[in-house]
Each structure stands twice: as structure tokens, then as C-alpha cells.
Subunit: 456 residues, 2 copies
């Protein structure tokens, strides 16, 4: 039995260490999208391995065809079951004037930790790590293993290769992926599904350089306009409906039970709008919104490169335009088929547009019931005093499906981040309340797990 | 009678001076679009006035509510008629990797003068200036006056105010605007029409900052997608057709005589494509292309700001998107009505999109016949050995309509630039052949003008 007082003391005592380690981790700009950050990725992996070793575990930095993976271990006994925690230590880029602080310096303001990667996903990773230290000290009969990836933000291109090679040595009874977001402060969730992703660029070249729109306009093809025509044919931004032939064929609608679970989960439309700074949404009906973000595919245009972006207008016809798009996918869609359908539709609409596939992540559908579900509920109730809601998550974590396929064990999604923390947004932060509650939650989770696994 | 040999000597002798003056002028980055270049605008005006004075004329830099205007004079006698030459000394921005040389250092390579502003419009201005010097020395009975604007590239916002205040002292019998482009080397034109312009930004704000497309996508409005929907509803990039209610109502089609003049002007479709680096056009029919660029309105999207522009994709929903667009207008459309119709259509299609009007320039329709037309033909034949074609120009020069309204005199459009010179494009250049031919052309023009004006 985890001694609650001892745990409280452990958590309080861990804080200075937690702060220092988080600082070390977040101040390494481990941006996987930028090739020039490759040395920082390596440094981050090594720093994380060092942290595990300093806390009494063992750790290795395992090379892959891409970025390395850090594997940490707090071993108990080979006879005991094993739990594996997945986090990622790479981060999104952090440019732009909206950042009020240096994104790669940790600013501790009260209980808040401001930095790129603080909540996505370095802070949560460190919380679970401290819970493992406690479980080890409390002699919980469980081997605890960490898999920390450094390519999550670019769609985990090397993770499948890594798992293929190392699945045997990573044998485990359960995986917890801790990279998801609560509904709100005080409203934890256990996520039972993730959307997949198929990224793409749609590029149209019509010339070799900027040309004068007076001298050529009317005869010259305008790649910006043609891309707008194409995107409008693919997607209605008003309704969110996607016009790609066959695209919805494999979509499995949420069950009635799942919709009921959505309805009573405590999702608040005004809060959702406030947290993300969205003045209006495509729908005013909360259940519609939940379905739109958790259980339906999307087509997003993230930006259109090319042409003039500065002040005012510049009267040129640009030589190319490139739309950066992605499709979020739901069970049972697959990225490969989605990309193929997109290609075919683009070819029908404008054969000169070149479709280049980017990150691909399969959607995930998990289970909310049974002994493991109960352990998650009890652990979160212990850590935060609240029962979680079982809902889906709109984001994508490519590693989840890979872990499931190679390790052939149940996957649970128990995150510690709040919507306010700003996943992928400027001024990202994590907070001590979630960090401390997370330590307690996972300490309890590790305590309850052996019995639950025996009972399966 | 202009002595041809004396003129040839004059032109040859002028070259070192021409080179030095052009260097002085183009190395001042007089970019009217960028407010931080205001001191350079002033420097450029003063440098130009100094050049006139050094060449024996008088000059003043006249302040306006915006950028100054340089007025230069080579006076003969009050009884003699006056010809006024309009050029502009402000330039387009010059950023981007496509520039192979510093755009604000003059690179003389053989007969070519590479620099931003070399052909648009500093090089031609200097050519005509040297022609005026010769006419003065040859005692041609004509007062020659220069109006050099420094706001042409931003739509001449202060030029109307300037003309209103100074029209009386600028009284003239004819204005030649020298800011147009030939059909090809050896194919001079006299332009009988200009398109107008109405610029605008279409801005849609749907949030306050980047949000995660997994966590919000589907429910969050995507401003990029909605702008694409809007633009597609306004404009078909395939055909060039514009879907704004009432937009074509005032368009006057070219006359049969004008179309015949287009047909025999020597326009070459392969050359047009080659010069502007355009692999394919909206039409393969030369007359269609000429009408599209000279006699029909357009809607161009110059760029869409907002969102992610970097490598790969970044899975965010951006908080805003802003399309930079312009409408080229033809007689008898007006910028004010075009903007009003655009606003109304946008409001119908997406009332959340804010339309902000940018530069506005009226279209122009001139006359190709009569004594003045003959002078232009003879002058170009003298200067370049070729008769000009009478065609229209697809670009816009706001000052033309302003000059016509305030000075109530005929306006002729006689340019010296070649398509290859790259108006508004990277690696802009001018060449000595056009500069020297231009000096001869305008010397002849000034010689023939007094008689032609008397004969009117």
C-alpha cells in the first residue's frame, strides 16, 4: 500500500529536483522538424538518460535510422510484470512574435513552468519518472520501463523500425502513453481513441519567378488562385465537409454508448472556445463539437507558401504556391488510403498540382473497460481527487499504434496536460499542480497494476 | 532639323555621365512601399534634382502630403509650347533569394545595367533627360518640363493633391509618360490604353493564436480554408472569369479596329511565355492572350499571409489569414465601384471577412491617331529604325489619369523598357541600346513637336 503521507513528502521533496531537471530538458531546443536541431535532439536524449541514471534507474540512448529513442528502466524482478510509459522529448518549433518569453529558457512563475515542451511532453514525462522512483523505493512488485521518443512531432518516421528491432527486449504487460490533454482543470480524462493524420503539401508551379500582374495578369496562370480553387473543391470550411471521393467510406461512427459518455463528460463549449481563443465555431452544439474534434476526420490548411506576405499588396503573379494541408483520420481510415484518395481527387481537379505526402499516423481505438480501466480511474482519483471521463482525443500520436502492434499489449492513454497549457501554441506551460498530481497518480497506478494484471 | 551625326556624338559622349548618374540614382533604395525608406525617397528626389541642375536645367523638390515630386525644367521661351515628361523614381521592393546581385548596387555587365529601378523607371527617365539636354543645345523652340513622381509603385496616393495645387504652374501642351514596355526587342509600341487597379486585402480572423489542429480541428474555423472558399467563389483561376455581381457591367470591349491592330502588332506567344518564364497560359490563342492582358479585367491573388510557411507542415489552425488581391480594371470601370462591388460580394459570401482597400488607379484610354501619333511614330523610327505598334498596356500608371484631368492635354505613352528587363521582377535591368535609342527618339520627338502642336 502506497503510504499517502510518505508519497506527499516524496512529491514535495522532489520539487527542486523536478524544477532543475525540467529546466535542463526544456532549455535544449529539441525541435524534430528542423534538421539543424539534430545535435540538440542528441543532447536532449543524453540529458534524459542521465536524469534516469541520477534517479537510480538504468538508461540507454538507442540509435535508429532517424532520431534516437531513450529507454529507461527501474527494474524490480524478472518474475514481476512490466509497465511501460511512453512520452516524447522532441518539441514543436517556437517562432513568432506571440511568444512573450524566450521559448527555450524555463520561466518559473509561481506554479507555472513556461517553455516550449513544458507540457508537450517533457513535464509529464518527468512527473511519471518521479512516480517510478517512488514505486521503486516502495518496493512495488513491478518493473517500470520508459520509452521516450524524439520524433513524435514529425510523425514518428523511425519508430516502427526501432520497435521492430527492439520489441523483444521491450516486452511489457501494458503501455501507458502520457501525452494527452484533460478536458479542463479538475476534469481528467482517459482517452479511448486518437485521430490519425496524413499530412501533405499541394504544390503548383506555373512560372519561374515573380511576374508583373499588369504585364501578364489575365493570361498568366495564378498558382494562388488555382490552389484556392482546388482547396475549395476539396473542402467546405463552413461545414467542415470534405469532398474527396470515397474519403468517408471507412469512417466508423461513435457508438451510442460512446456518445452518451461524451454527453456526460463535462465538456464545456464556452470553456473550449475560451481556452483556444476561438470566437466562433462551426457548430454551437456541444455534442456536435465533441464529435467534430474527436470522432470525425478533417482537412486543414495550415498555410499557403509562395507569393507576397508583407505589408499591403505587391502586384505580382507568383511562380508557385504550396498549400500545407493535413487530414485528421478516424477509425477505420488509414493514412495510406487517405493519401491515395487525396492524390486521385487532386489529379481529377488540377493535374498540374503535385501532392507530396508528409507525416502519416494511424488512428487508434482503445478500450475503456476492465481491470486496467479501473486502475486508471482509481489512480486519477487518488492523484487529483477526481474520476476521469472516458472520451477520445482529437490529436494523433503515431507511436501508439506502433506500440500496440509490436508489443501486443493493452495501451492506456493517461495524460497530465491541460487545454490551457497550449499544446503547439505560443507561451506553452506546465504547472506544478499537474506535475505533483501526476506523480501521485502514477505512483498509485504502479501500486495497483500488479494485482490488476494478475486478475486479467 | 536635328543633326543626326551631332546627336550620335552627343549620345556617345553622354554615356559615362549616364552610367554615373544611373549608379547614383539606383543605389538609393527609393522603395515607396516601405515607410522606413522615406529618407531614401527624399535622398533620391534631391539627387535627381541635382542631376537636372548639373545638366543645365532648373529643378525643385516639391513636397506633398506624401512623398515629394521632382519638377525639372529646360526652358526655351514663354511663347514656345511646352512638353512634359512623366517618369517615376520610386521602385518596387527587392527581397528574396532570386536576386543574383545586390539589387541596390549597379552592376554594369556589357551593355546591361542591373539594379532595382534600372528599367522601372530610373533608366528611361535619365534617357529622356539627356534628350532634353540635346534639344536645349540644338535650340529647339520647346520648353521641356519633367515631372518625376516618387509614389508610383504604391498607387500615387498624393499625386492628385500635388497636381491640384500645382497644375497652373505646370501648364503644358502634351505629356509623355515614359513608363511602358515594348512588345519585344526591336518592337516598340505606343500604348493607347492602361488598365486600372484596385488593390485590397481580404482578412479573416477566427482566433487569437495558433491552435493545435488535433485538439481543435473540425470544430475550429480554419481561416485559410474559408479564404480559399471565398476566393474560389470570386474567381475561376482556370478561365480567369470573375464572379462579382455587376463587375463586368462597365467594361467597354475593344473596337474591331483595335483588335485588328492587336492582331498585326507582332505579339508572339512563345516569346511572351519565354520572357516571363510561364510554361503554360490560360489560353493558347495569341489574340485571346492580348485581350486578356490588355483589354480585360483580372482578379489576382498575390499571396496569402498567415499560418505556417516553412518546411514541411505544421499542424496548427492559424488565427487569421489575409489574402492580398488586386483587380486590374479596364475602361470604363472605376476603382471605387470595383471596390464597392467586391465588398458587397465578399459580404454576401463570408460576412466575417474584412475588406481593406489598397491602391486605386483608374484605367486610361488614349488616342493613337493625329499629328501627335505621327510624331511618336517618326521619333521611334528615327531612334530605333522601327515603327511602333499601337497596342494597350496591361499595367497601371495612376498618374496618367490624374495628369489628364488636371492638365487637360493629350497624354502619350512612349516607353523604353523591354519585357526581358523584368518590371517588378528579380534581376531587373536596363540596357544601353534602349537608353541610347531613347535619347535619339526623344531628341527627335522634341524637334518634331512644335510644328505638330501648331498644326493641331
Amino acid at each position: 500500500m502506497v503510504d499517502s503521507k510518505a508519497l506527499d513528502r516524496h512529491v514535495r521533496a522532489a520539487r527542486p529536483k523536478y524544477d532543475a531537471e525540467l529546466r535542463r530538458w526544456v532549455e535544449i531546443p529539441s525541435i524534430s522538424l528542423l534538421p539543424e536541431r539534430r545535435p540538440d535532439i542528441q543532447r536532449c536524449a543524453e540529458a534524459a538518460a542521465k536524469t534516469v541514471i541520477a534517479l537510480g534507474g538504468t538508461a540507454e540512448v538507442i540509435e535508429t535510422r532517424g532520431n534516437p529513442v531513450v529507454v529507461g528502466r527501474f527494474a524490480s524482478d524478472r518474475k514481476h510484470p512490466t509497465a511501460t510509459i511512453y512520452n516524447h522529448l522532441d518539441v514543436q518549433p517556437a517562432e513568432g512574435a506571440a511568444w512573450k518569453r524566450d521559448p527555450f529558457k524555463l520561466s518559473i512563475e509561481g506554479d507555472r513552468y513556461y517553455a516550449r515542451g513544458a507540457t508537450d511532453d517533457k513535464g509529464p514525462a518527468l512527473s511519471v519518472l518521479h512516480a517510478a522512483v517512488f514505486a521503486r523505493q516502495a518496493d512495488v512488485p513491478l518493473n517500470i520501463q520508459f520509452i521516450w521518443e524524439l520524433e513524435e512531432e514529425i510523425g514518428s518516421p523511425s519508430f516502427d523500425g526501432f520497435m521492430q528491432k527492439h520489441a523483444k527486449s521491450l516486452r511489457t504487460d501494458v503501455v501507458v502513453v502520457s501525452d494527452t490533454v484533460w478536458l479542463a482543470p479538475g476534469k481528467p480524462v482517459v482517452s479511448t481513441g486518437l485521430r490519425g493524420l496524413q499530412g501533405a503539401t499541394l504544390r503548383l508551379e506555373t512560372g519561374t519567378e515573380d511576374v508583373h500582374s499588369g504585364l501578364t495578369g489575365g493570361a498568366a496562370r495564378n498558382p494562388m488562385v488555382e490552389l484556392c480553387n482546388l482547396i475549395a473543391a476539396l473542402h467546405d470550411g463552413g461545414t467542415g465537409k470534405i469532398h474527396i471521393q470515397g474519403f468517408y467510406d471507412d469512417v466508423v461512427k461513435p457508438t451510442r454508448a460512446e456518445l452518451a459518455s461524451f454527453s456526460r463528460c463535462g465538456f464545456s463549449l464556452p470553456r473550449f472556445k475560451k481556452v483556444y481563443g476561438l470566437a466562433s465555431l462551426r457548430s454551437k452544439d456541444p455534442l456536435e463539437v465533441m464529435q467534430a474534434i474527436w470522432a470525425r476526420p478533417t482537412l486543414e490548411v495550415h498555410g499557403i507558401a509562395g507569393g507576397y506576405q508583407g505589408r499591403g499588396i505587391k502586384t505580382i503573379v507568383p511562380p508557385f504556391a504550396e498549400a500545407k494541408v493535413s487530414l485528421r483520420l478516424v477509425p477505420n481510415q488509414t493514412p495510406a488510403k487517405a493519401l491515395e484518395l487525396l492524390r486521385a481527387e487532386v489529379k481529377r481537379l488540377n493535374p498540374d498540382v503535385v501532392v507530396h505526402g508528409e507525416s502519416a499516423l494511424a488512428p487508434f481505438r482503445g478500450n475503456s473497460t476492465g481491470a486496467l480501466g479501473d486502475v486508471a480511474v482509481q489512480a486519477l482519483r487518488f492523484g487529483f481527487g477526481k474520476s476521469p471521463a472516458f472520451v477520445r482525443e482529437g490529436g494523433s500520436i503515431g507511436a501508439v499504434v506502433t506500440l500496440e502492434r509490436h508489443l501486443k499489449c493493452p495501451i492506456q492513454l493517461i495524460g497530465l496536460s491541460l487545454p490551457d497549457h497550449g499544446y503547439h501554441a505560443p507561451n506553452e506551460y506546465f504547472d506544478w499542480g499537474q506535475a505533483a498530481g501526476g506523480m501521485k497518480t502514477f505512483a498509485k497506478y504502479f501500486e495497483l497494476l500488479p494485482a490488476a494484471l494478475r486478475g486479467r
